[in-house]
């Protein structure tokens, strides 16, 4: 199988109702590491991730993968900022992507049990997913996203409403996924998290990529005044 990467965006833009949400974006991503997308609220982080994942229609430009589109789609998963839970048990939620791929119920459930236990949901596999706490919901979403062993995983502010402990646990899960070869593209507004996880950082401002740099460099010597201000915790418009 040919690799998904490089992922190339050329002039990729999303407009809705005459308003430009993000773009035009020109960007090439290679197949290694964790890319962290940061930027103030409304900068277009969610729009950028959805655009790359292909669930938001492009208004302009193009997105190209190293392979054909169907293969690319099948090899990636998305974790939404608000986890979307199916009205099923935790186990069946995690097993669902496998069931979609025609894997028998017993086998899918067995794999879901393993995946659920790995993210710490072992004791609540039989429970309805809606009974979970915020952190557990996000873990479920991640376990479900990882169960198809995607080559690429998008995460949209997965720790936005979680406390420190849940955040640490999720970061650990993500680090393991990255180690076992999953490419991560993740947005966050938590600078600490960005520092801890990022191999490279995309700083988004008003729908444009304002700065794109590898980790130590971006945090130590931001090239633009806005990036420096943002890292300082100043309000950037």
């Amino acid at each position: 199988m040919r690799s998904l990467f490089p992922l190339t965006l050329t002039g990729a833009t999303i407009r809705r109702k005459g308003k430009r949400l993000v773009g035009p974006i020109d960007l090439t991503l290679q197949d290694q590491g964790i890319t962290i997308v940061i930027g103030p609220n409304g900068a277009g982080k969610t729009s950028l991730l959805r655009m790359m994942h292909g669930i938001a229609r492009l208004s302009d430009g193009a997105i190209n993968w190293g392979c054909d589109l169907d293969t690319a789609h099948a090899a990636q998963s998305f974790v939404f900022q608000q986890p979307i839970l199916l009205r099923r048990s935790v186990r069946d939620n995690i097993a669902y992507p496998l069931r979609l791929r025609g894997i028998a119920k017993a086998m899918a459930r067995a794999q879901a049990d393993t995946a659920g236990t790995r993210v710490g949901l072992g004791p609540m596999l039989d429970r309805p997913a809606t009974f979970l706490s915020g952190g557990e919901r996000q873990k479920l979403a991640i376990a479900r996203a990882l169960i198809t062993k995607p080559a690429l995983l998008f995460l949209d502010e997965p720790c936005a409403s979680l406390d420190g402990r849940a955040t640490r646990e999720i970061e650990e899960i993500l680090r393991q996924a990255a180690t076992s070869g999953t490419r991560l593209i993740m947005s966050t507004h938590d600078m600490g998290q960005a520092r801890r996880l990022a191999d490279d950082v995309l700083f988004l401002l008003k729908g444009h990529i304002h700065e794109h740099a590898p980790t130590p460099l971006f945090f130590d010597q931001p090239q633009t005044a806005e990036a420096a201000a943002f890292l300082n915790g100043d309000i950037v418009e």
């Binding site: 998305f78 979307i84 009205r87």
Partner: protein, 234 residues
Amino acid sequence: MSDLWEGIGQALWLLVTLDADLVEITLRSLRVTLTALVIACAIALPIGAFLAVRRFRARRFTIALLNALMGLPPVVVGLIVYVLLSRSGPFGVMGLIFTPTAMIIAQVVIIVPLISSIAHQALRELWSDYHDLLISLNTTQRQRMAALLWDGRRALLTAALAGFGRAIGEVGAIMIVGGNIDHHTRVLTTAIALETGKGDFAMALGLGFVLILLAIAVNLAIHIIGRTEQEGRW
């Protein structure tokens, strides 16, 4: 007022003595309506799910049409089904007129719009919850409909029960296509119409109470089977 008490007395009497005619009529009502319900659900639930997940050009029109059909007077449905099934009608050779099958067909026609409309309302909300995830997972249309139908089954139960209520209480259409033939196509509602016609209000009310009890019993039974109470809310 005295009619009401007599009716309740009559109903109790019929029930306590397990009146043979009553049992027969009640079982027939159940058989006809439950069969119609199963068929109608098999048609209507996928329609509801399809309308929820698929944007197509005639969608708004279809929804408006379903809502309009929902208000269609059953007598009109009865007349149309009669004309179709009558020996001189296009399906006359099948010899279905004045049989329980004809009544089932009429009830299916009456409740399909109702069930699909309620199902669509319920599944539309579920779809807006699920939309992003199911798109992200590259689901096919079939898989989307299946997920909605399965995960929305509790709401769909309500739709089915509404259909059951409308079908079991329907009289105009099944009177026309069934003919209210004793021991053959007489059901609770047509029997009530008959007793009312005879001026035997107590008997008519008694049958009416039996009908109400039956509707309550079926509702409870379906809820218990669905274990709605135990499993809690989704």
